[in-house]
Every structure is written in structure tokens, then in C-alpha cells.
Symmetry: D2
Amino acid sequence: MPTILGQNQYGKAENRVVKITRDGATHHIKDLNVSVALSGDMDEVHYSGSNAHVLPTDTTKNTVYAFAKEHGIESAEQFGIHLARHFVTSQEPITTARIRIEEYEWERIAASDANSRFIGADEVRHSFVRKGQETRVTQITYDGENWEVISGLKDLIVMNSTNSEFWGYVKDKYTTLQEAYDRILATQVSGRWRFNWTDDEQRMPNWEKSYEQTRKHMLQAFAETYSLSLQQTLYQMGSRIINNRSEIDEVRFSLPNKHHFLVDLEPFGLKNDNEVYYAADRPYGLIEATILRDGAEQLIPVDMTNL
Amino acid sequence: MPTILGQNQYGKAENRVVKITRDGATHHIKDLNVSVALSGDMDEVHYSGSNAHVLPTDTTKNTVYAFAKEHGIESAEQFGIHLARHFVTSQEPITTARIRIEEYEWERIAASDANSRFIGADEVRHSFVRKGQETRVTQITYDGENWEVISGLKDLIVMNSTNSEFWGYVKDKYTTLQEAYDRILATQVSGRWRFNWTDDEQRMPNWEKSYEQTRKHMLQAFAETYSLSLQQTLYQMGSRIINNRSEIDEVRFSLPNKHHFLVDLEPFGLKNDNEVYYAADRPYGLIEATILRDGAEQLIPVDMTNL
Amino acid sequence: MPTILGQNQYGKAENRVVKITRDGATHHIKDLNVSVALSGDMDEVHYSGSNAHVLPTDTTKNTVYAFAKEHGIESAEQFGIHLARHFVTSQEPITTARIRIEEYEWERIAASDANSRFIGADEVRHSFVRKGQETRVTQITYDGENWEVISGLKDLIVMNSTNSEFWGYVKDKYTTLQEAYDRILATQVSGRWRFNWTDDEQRMPNWEKSYEQTRKHMLQAFAETYSLSLQQTLYQMGSRIINNRSEIDEVRFSLPNKHHFLVDLEPFGLKNDNEVYYAADRPYGLIEATILRDGAEQLIPVDMTNL
Amino acid sequence: MPTILGQNQYGKAENRVVKITRDGATHHIKDLNVSVALSGDMDEVHYSGSNAHVLPTDTTKNTVYAFAKEHGIESAEQFGIHLARHFVTSQEPITTARIRIEEYEWERIAASDANSRFIGADEVRHSFVRKGQETRVTQITYDGENWEVISGLKDLIVMNSTNSEFWGYVKDKYTTLQEAYDRILATQVSGRWRFNWTDDEQRMPNWEKSYEQTRKHMLQAFAETYSLSLQQTLYQMGSRIINNRSEIDEVRFSLPNKHHFLVDLEPFGLKNDNEVYYAADRPYGLIEATILRDGAEQLIPVDMTNL
């Protein structure tokens, strides 16, 4: 046979599971999009079409919903760990499971004054509005021995309206850009961070608190860095995380430079004193980098932050 | 000539304008997407291609940016009023201008404790994160005499995890649905409301406060209605607005019923006690209606809430 | 009660139905996205939540699938007519039904030479690739007496690389645009045309042939018009349809002017002789108009072409 | 310093360049979306913000447009090779350049009969409609010595309406799926293939012919495989390419199983004889694999086919 099979994986992608937990009249939501990818001894299904080693993707879907009941959803990470362990330990041919999860956050709708007097509470406890800001993501990979947990977020749009410059760069025959000493810096953050928790003997991180703190440090670094380049801001965001979160060893960002161009108002006899900008769609600068704890291995794939 | 020209309009769509206002070290953002549509004596450009009556769409774009400087952007509505008046009053052939605006909200990034001590404030004043919840919209139409202002929002996703039933409906030979006595009710709100401000002699509403209050009443009505049908909830949302906001005479909603189906876990020996749901994409129920102040005219077009 | 109910409708939207017809070894596909909207005596479901007049949206979905079997899908228009008639005639409270359908076209995959010798045919007869060009659309409305059929297409992207000019326009203080004597003209066509078939006594058009011919005339008019404005091209596209298709009385187009800007290469010592263009996303000119057969009524809503 | 910089790259993404070539009255289009990513000695811009080694992303954009004039666009691959070589050889700090290109195909609009008589040709030679089927992609990477060219396509939707089965799979406690002996097999192909052309001394492939033939073999393998699993079909698609195209050593596919579920019409007294299907959106099976020429190295990243 002149051709051979290389890396392969399969599973059910984008299982949308919503879990409601009722604590008396107070309800809680977990709203996830779960994708399962399994790999192992799968040559025959590719070569001959024999499904003797194949747990159907429909079954992996059923397992997601059943586990939401059996284990609850404490966090996306914890839920993914339950799933990955199950597939690897219960199915002989499966040697590796990778679970990817997107999480959508909801916040409570505040009750009206009249209503809150009536129900003796300041919030209706079963009514929610989707927060709609970043999408939280995680990827759990398990090979039967070791865990790799990479979490992060995407689609978080941030802007500094000052404290950003860009000058002193290389000029070649195709360079026309003017240097800028006060520009808008805006980006749509896609970030991933890898935990150093890799085995069941270690104490597991508090996934929810870790996310909240990592996000906070990242945003503060963005806000507080006086920026000479988006690369510098990116590095500050990553190193702020590494320095403050001991559970994280590696961070990777993909930061599109969402250009805001100062509009030339002079033809209309007006002076644009850093006030009126045109927000451009395409093209955009795209700055990507990994930041590592000294001594840590680089494991987050180059392309992962753009998925 | 066997064919004639009917309704027509033209202009530049989706002008992305960002206005930064500096109040000392504290910056403010207005982030709009502005679309201009002009109509009037435009037969010749269609029949012969003569542009003698045509102000270029490029000029309407320039006007948007110039007006952001000349008039500022107090609110999307006020900005649209400036633009519409300008086109109708300054261009002889233009008899009607319609300005549509989307607005994206930003919130401030909270500073780190260390930083806030340093700058003596609890927020960095030029750093923002896009809120990312609903998109606020407005449409201003001016014919040289009268104004029509229709504002609203889209893409606001809400959910009640209980207090919703659906039963007592018509059954025909194609009906298989089981009645439900405790279901999730979720929708992605697209709403528009028409103001009764129509001429320059009237006192103009406070557009920003009106939006904030209308949104609040709408969300509270959603949360507080014990729902026997999504139509009933929709009507409560609309009438709550009419009853509380005297500046508004008409409301229209388009509410997709974002189905959350209870997953059947019995094959796995599990009982699903209103806990685990599958969030479906398509198809969805689609409930649309207009609610009017008694005596008001119905003017919001049927299709407008889906644009 | 200070508020009253205005226009309202409900139904199941985006029912994705695929119908395979087997003609021996040769298969045929119809691939539709069907949305049902019903209206009539529906006050109570809004006021009190009583569903006594409500045929569930789930039932309207079931009806779509059952009718695909019972009536087949000869054309999207004919299928919509079956559905609309059914809801209005079988449900006492329903007085009007509106069916909207998107259709996706598929073409056959050509077989390999070796295979075609073997099976004695030049095509594998059950293998298809989605054409992926325009989406065909139709809207059927029935009130128990009269029919309104509006068909069309969206997302058909066309370009003339020459034979387009733009000059002789109005200049005001905000005008900076240079006149153009040879430019690219490109647009993403959204078009709708209304048939003059309105009642069961009339001979019904051949919907498939009408679509094919209308599309052809529209494209030819686009290609063959030497354009002084996009409005002129639009008018030619519409009048060509009216003049060639007697079954159509009204056409409306929404044509975004997809700007292709000539890139200034002079800073690099290069001359750009109408060769290298930057294809812009936003903003775009937006040209919209209705063209009517003389004497016909204008019935296609202003906003419909943008849905 | 406790943190260090890992893999990093930067450049301008999504430069939309349209190149018109005039061959007398006959025009030709190349329509590309070009993304540049450069890497090399870039530590300082991350650590201190010094841009002394940074060619601005704006310059990389200018270079794309200038090269479209200077070198023309013979093929996306050839254009990417010109760009990658330029950045690596002309900028001391740049050691690697990666160019990603999407290409959109256009076809000619056929002229009307009347017109073709007039111009003595059967086609208007400057009028085009975007084909709108798959998007063709390529990625060129150059490190100053070796080339890696990975081409492919995405968003090509295909369907077999018969000749697909699925049975004989593993059943565990979460398995409810029924075996299928005649099902629809549909997928949205994302495929990438790596060329064994790696250095300037080798004869370069004919990129356009290679694409056309690779696509043809892939589609024929999809159509002609009697499928017992989507994995088997995927493997056939890949090995058909390897066996027929000597310039390609590695292929990777990501194939979502776009489920078409047979609708249960029995409650309505109807028999569904593989005629009426519901086309589902989410979840979907996702089958991914690499196929290699025996002895070839596996170099296409796992995640690349999903970008």
C-alpha cells in the first residue's frame, strides 16, 4: 500500500448543553458547547470501513448529556476532565481523548422595585441575560497518564484611547507609514494559558477562581502598559499572568491590531485633535506570541489561538 | 417606456465612526455604525445615468465624520437628527433622509489595586472593554417637516429557567408536541420603539435615559411574567414599556423561541428533573407583534425588527 | 387597557428540509429552508396566554416535512403555495399565511473516466456538490382569496472590470471624491420580483423556468450596460426583467456598491494602469430601487430586499 | 526575568487584492486575501518596545499591492513565493516568512444572443460572477533555505444520497444509535495537501493544474466510494490524491459529518422511504485524519485544517 494513515481523531463536535441547578428558588446556569475528539487504534475504520473499534459519535454526544446529570458541571475544566477520563479508561481502543469546551456566561436580571418588595429579594432568581462579552474556552487532553489543560478566552475587545505610540521602525522602499506618538490601541483578544497541573496526584487548581484572576491580570496589564508596540503590550499581558498565577506556565496570545485611523478633516476646515476615528475591518496587523515561565516547555500550538 | 421607477434611495452604509472625548485624563467613547439613505428627485440618475442631482455616497460618508467633530455625538439619536436635517435642508433634490445607526457600548477596565493607589482612582480612565451585549439601534427619518424616530436593540439573549408553560393549544393531524408545564423560555430580543416626538416644536426626549429605562422595563417584564405563551410575554414586555414611557407610542418585537429541549436520559437509567437541556439552533419558533398606545398609528414596518 | 395589539404573526422559522427523489439510479435533490408565519384571530394568546387558537409552531414544522412527502417539492414556490393554502383553509382562526423559503442549489459530481466506462454513464447519479453561488428565495402570502408571490435571490456577487464611470455629481463642502472615467463596478445582488399571478383561476407560471430566465436577463443587463451610475445599471437590470418576463410586474434591488479602490503605487515608482485594486468591506454605497411595469402597484416592502 | 518569549510572529493579515489583467478586450481576474506573518530576531520589540527590527505591518501590506504589479499574480502559490522570499532576503532580522492566501474564483457572465451577434463573441469579456463554491487556500513558508507549500480548500459541501452505511460499531451503556444500511453522507470539506517541492533547485509544480486535478480526484473518490464509515471515505479521498499526484506527499482532511436525519412520518400515516430528511446544524460528527505517502514525514499541523 503506497499510502499510510497519519494522525487521526474523531468525535462529536459542538454539543450544546445547558445545565440548570436549582438551589431553592435560586437557579444557576452552566451553558457549554462541548466537542469530543478521540484517537487510538483506528486504522481499520480508515482502511476497510470496519467500525469494530468505533464508539459512535452519537454515543459521545449522549455521554456529554448523561455526565451533565451524573457529575454536574462544576466548571468547564472539571467537566472536561470527567469526560476525557471516561473515554480513555472505558474504551480499550481509545488511547487519547481531547475535549474542547466553549462557555457562555449569564448574569441575573435585576427585579423591579415593586417586584422586589413583593418577593422580598432584589433579584428575580430564575431570570438571566447572556453576558455576551468574551467566550471562555478550555481544552483538556488525556492519554491515560497525563493531563494537559489549556484554558483561555476569545472575542474580548479592548481599547486604550491613548498611551500608545509607534515609531522608530524599519523603513524600506515600500514604507509609507507616518510615525505616531498618540494613537488608539485596540484589539480583540484571543488568549490561551496552559496549567502545570498534569497528573492526578497533584492538587487540582480552582478553575473558576483561576479564570477570574487570570482575566483580571490580563486586562490590567493591557490598561496599565504605556505601549510602544502591540508586541510590548502582549508581552506585558502574558508575563503579568505568569508572575501572578503560579498554576500557569505558558500563555499564548493572538492579537489583531484593530486599526482606528484618525480621519483627515482638514479638507473641511476642521482640526481633528485625536477625536474622530474610522474603525477599519481589514486588513489588520496580527501579533502573536507565546510567553513562558523560565524553564517551561512550549506546548501550545502556534495555530490554536486562532481556532 | 413600459417600465417606471418606484421607491428608491441611496447613500453610504456602515460608516464606522469612533469619537473620543477627553475630559482631562478621563476619556469617553461613542462607537457607532452609521448608514445614510437619501431619496428625492432622482429619476434621471436611474433613467440616463446623469448624476446632476446626486451627492456622492462618498460625500455622505465624509459628512458623518465631519459632523462627529462639528456637533459631537451626544447620543445616536441626536447625531442622526443632525445628519438627516443637513441632507434635506442643504440639498435641493433630497426630500427625505433616513439615518440608521448601530451603537456598541464600552465599559471601563478596573485598575489594579496597586495602580489605583498610585493614580488615586479606582479606574484607569482611558482603557475600555467592549460590553458585547445587545447592539443598540436607531432610525431617524426626516422629510423636511416631520421626524420619525424609532429606536431599539437587537441580539439581547434572555432566559427564564422556570415559570413558563405551554398547553391548551390546537391539535390537528400533524400535531405531536407534548404539553409542557415547566419549561425554559429563552429568546434573542429584537425590539423597536417609536417615539411620539415628531416635530422641532416639541420638547425632545432624553434619548440616553429613555433607552436605559425602556430596556430596564422590558427586561423586568420578561423576568416577572409567569408565561403561558411567548406571545403573552411579548405583550407584557411591550405594554410595560408603553405604560411606563410616555415618550413612546408603539413597540414591535421579533422574538425567536430559542428552544431548550429536555434531554431524555432514561435510556441511561437517569432521571432528568428539569436539569439537562439541549440548546437547539434551528428551527425556532418566531413570535412577532406590535403593541400600541391606544389611539396611536401603527408605523413600524413588519420586517424592520428583523433587519 | 391603555395598550392594544397591532400586527402580529407566529410560526416555525428555518425548517431545513432535504427531499431526495429517486428516478432509478438517478437521484434529484431539493434543499430548502422553510419559514412559516401565520396570523389571524390571535388576540387572546397575547392578552391572557390562552392557546385555544394556536396551532403550535412545532405542528407547522411537522407539516413542512409531511408535505414534502405528500406533495413532493416541484419548486419552492409550488411547495409554499401548498403550505399556505393548508394553514388558511384548515385552521379557522388563521386568516393569512406567509411562507418564506430559501433554496440551495446542488450540481452533480462528474465521474472519473474509468468509472464512467464501468457504469456506462458520464456522471455518478447520486453524488452532488453544493453550487454555493446565490441563494434563491421566495415568499408566498395567502389570505384565503388572493396570492402574492415574490421571488428572487441574494448573495450573487458580480463585477464589471471596465465600462463604468462616475462623474458630473453634486459637490458640496464635504465632497472630496475624484471623478472616475474607468472604474470597477461590483455588487452583491439582492433582488426580489413580484408575479402578477394572484388567483387560482389564472394559469400558474412555470416557476423554475421563470427563475432561470429572470436571472439570465438580470445578469446580461448587468454585463451589457455601459454604466454612468450604479442606479442606471440597477434600472436596466429591473427593466430588462419587466420587458422580458410578462409574469413579473415589479422588481426591487438592493445593490451594495462593493468598492474596489485603485491602489496608489506611485510612492514605489510604479504606475497602476487599472490593474491593482484594494477590495474594501465597509463602508459601501447602497443603492436601492423598485422598478414597475407601467400601471402596476408598488407592493414589495422597502426593507424586504435586505432580509 | 522570570518569563521568557517563545514562538512569535507578526504581519498584516487579510490584505484584499484584486488584480485585473487586460488581454485586449478580454479581462482576467485574480482575487486574493493575503496574510503575512514574519518571525526572526524580535525579542526587543516584546521586551522593551523598541521597533528597530520591525518592518511595519503597513509596509507588508504595501508590498503585497506593489508585488501584484511588479510580478503579477500567476497563481496564489507563485505570488506567495515571491512575497516570502522578499521578506526573508531583504530584511536582516526576518528569518522566516509565512504567507497565507485565500483565493476566490470568478466565472464569466454569458452574453445575451442579441449582444453576442453584435460583438461577434459568445461572452462579454469583462463581466464576471463570483463562483462562490469552495475557497482555495495556500500557505507558503520560507526560512531562507527551504520551502514548505501547503495548499487546499475549504467550504466545499458535498453529498452522496445513497451508498453509505454505518453499523457494526461499539455499543456501551450510553449508546442508543440505530444501525443504518442506507443513509445520506454529506460533509463540508476542509482539506490541505503538502507539496514535496522544497527547494529552488527542484522543478516547480504547475500550481494551477495541480489544484484542478487534485480537486477532481478528491471529488471522484468521494463520489465513487461505497462508504461504511466517513473515515473510510476520507482515507479514499486522501490516498486517491497521493496515488495520482506525484507532487503531493501528505494530505489532511477535516470532515464534519453534516447529519441528515430521516424524518419520522409515521405519526401522520406516511412512510418515509429515504425521501424526506432534516438537515441538522449542530452537533456534528467531526472526522479528521492525515494520509501520507509511505516514507513521508507528517508536517501538516493537526489544527491547520480548521483555520
